[in-house]
Symmetry: C2
Subunit: 334 residues, 2 copies
Amino acid sequence: MTDTQFDVLAIGNAIVDILVYTDDRFLNTHGLIKGTMGLVDLDASCALYDKVGAALERSGGSAANTIAGVASLGGRGAFIGKVCDDQLGRVFSHDMRAIGVYFETAPTIEGAATATSIVLVTPDAERTMQTYLGACVELSPDDVSAEEISAAQVTYLEGYLWDPPAAKQAFIKAAELAHNAGREISLSLSDPFCVDRHRADFAELVDRYVDILFANEEEIMSLYQVESFDEALAAVRGRCKIAALTRNAEGCVIVSGNELCTVVAETVDEVVDTTGAGDAFAAGFLAGYTRGCDLPTSARMANIAAGEAISHLGARPEACLADMVVERMGRNLR
Amino acid sequence: MTDTQFDVLAIGNAIVDILVYTDDRFLNTHGLIKGTMGLVDLDASCALYDKVGAALERSGGSAANTIAGVASLGGRGAFIGKVCDDQLGRVFSHDMRAIGVYFETAPTIEGAATATSIVLVTPDAERTMQTYLGACVELSPDDVSAEEISAAQVTYLEGYLWDPPAAKQAFIKAAELAHNAGREISLSLSDPFCVDRHRADFAELVDRYVDILFANEEEIMSLYQVESFDEALAAVRGRCKIAALTRNAEGCVIVSGNELCTVVAETVDEVVDTTGAGDAFAAGFLAGYTRGCDLPTSARMANIAAGEAISHLGARPEACLADMVVERMGRNLR
């Protein structure tokens, strides 16, 4: 493989999170299913916002969180995603560039505002999201350049990108460009309901393009419509180079050819908010993988990053993940 | 005193905080004086923002934080302050109303954006602020109504309001309306540099209008240009009904007529960020005072609120202060 400018280039929805504590009763009253991400239009988003408590704003977006994690692990990251040139768009852009991530996607100048996701955190630390895609629907194949994609060892795509229609084409274009350049493609299935919405497409994507697949237990079972994790494991085996499957507190299972590696989750003092756990897991794994680490090492890094993400409110790392890896694994990533 | 609709009405700059961790070197490189609030124009604010790390956005503003604390203590609060009808203005407005604070000041429709303050938090938990006043400069006497002021037992004014020129007039109007209605006026001196900018005006305000004065050691010494806290205490005595003076970890001293009451600070497990400590202190004191608590009780509530504020990033309460008061003082505020 020739030298690359980026370890990971992530493509995803560019979202600012509106984080708010709530309770189960509120979720029930508003017909929200705990742990899932639902899409809402502007009116529904505003109506929900009017009903929630005082909030905290913080850049989010699934693949964007992943690239923030890669950067915190000392990886060289790039991001493609669409914001509007408004206050929250400038917040999102700042937070990408401030951590050293290359982010040059042109913002929209008018039309829908920058995407926001109302993230409802319940006392059990679960998060339930209601996302208004806003400017994200304007992401198009024109935003994906061959130069950027071929400069990245791995291009990482979030499944949520399948929701805004034009982004799908950007997604496919990126996958083809990456493979043409001899690079790899990684996909996160994002959310069980997202898998429900796009099951046939996702199954085809995995077979055609995906080198490294990320999914949690529920998502991979939903993708292959099977009843147990073992059946899902059997179903995904051989379909992509690596499948990295997470099982919450039980840790993760990595499948690659005939190799199967199980790594237990890290101990976390207090689980505060699970927002971004899967995003951070992918960050840790990809940061290890792109540095040539073996599967168990990459998986351990993934678990460390996920453990950090769930120990505070919000999805992006608060601690320096590279320092955490040094501390826990005695491995210098600098 | 006749019945009131509000315990406290606060008038202040309506600001969204951009909270970011940094270090002493960054402050020195940019000529920033630790622990102070500096005013910057839009260009300087943007230039600084470009240089800081990934941030977190959260509603702030000194008097606005105080009224959020009053609400968290079960008090009935109102706020007057100026935002623009933009994304951050809507964030600020939402966060006021979501905690039950009456906030009906008309936003501006065009012109300067909603005010932001870049809050730089150093490892010693000190905060240094650079504030762009934005739409706050549009606050005018027209935004202050006799009906609202006379509906509040105490009208609380932040010293920072003396910075935007038109807000001064709103400040004076509010003070006169309150006294005409037989209500009380409270003032926070806000910041030693703010006292430097407006020393003569503040001294006159205290003598003419202020019933309850809040200041920290440095501010009250600056106001009366004396070299010791004891001299400042002697200087302020008799000039207002109550002077509530804070001394960081040493707690507070309350002066009222011949009464002098000293209350030690609450124990805090870990001081994370001192942003909003003074605002929270005023909240606790006013919540107690307006409920008819004696000075030592009100001061203890003030210290509990301040202790909560410094235990996390950001100025507004994260825990329910009323519950904390019940727990620590066995006092039911509901």
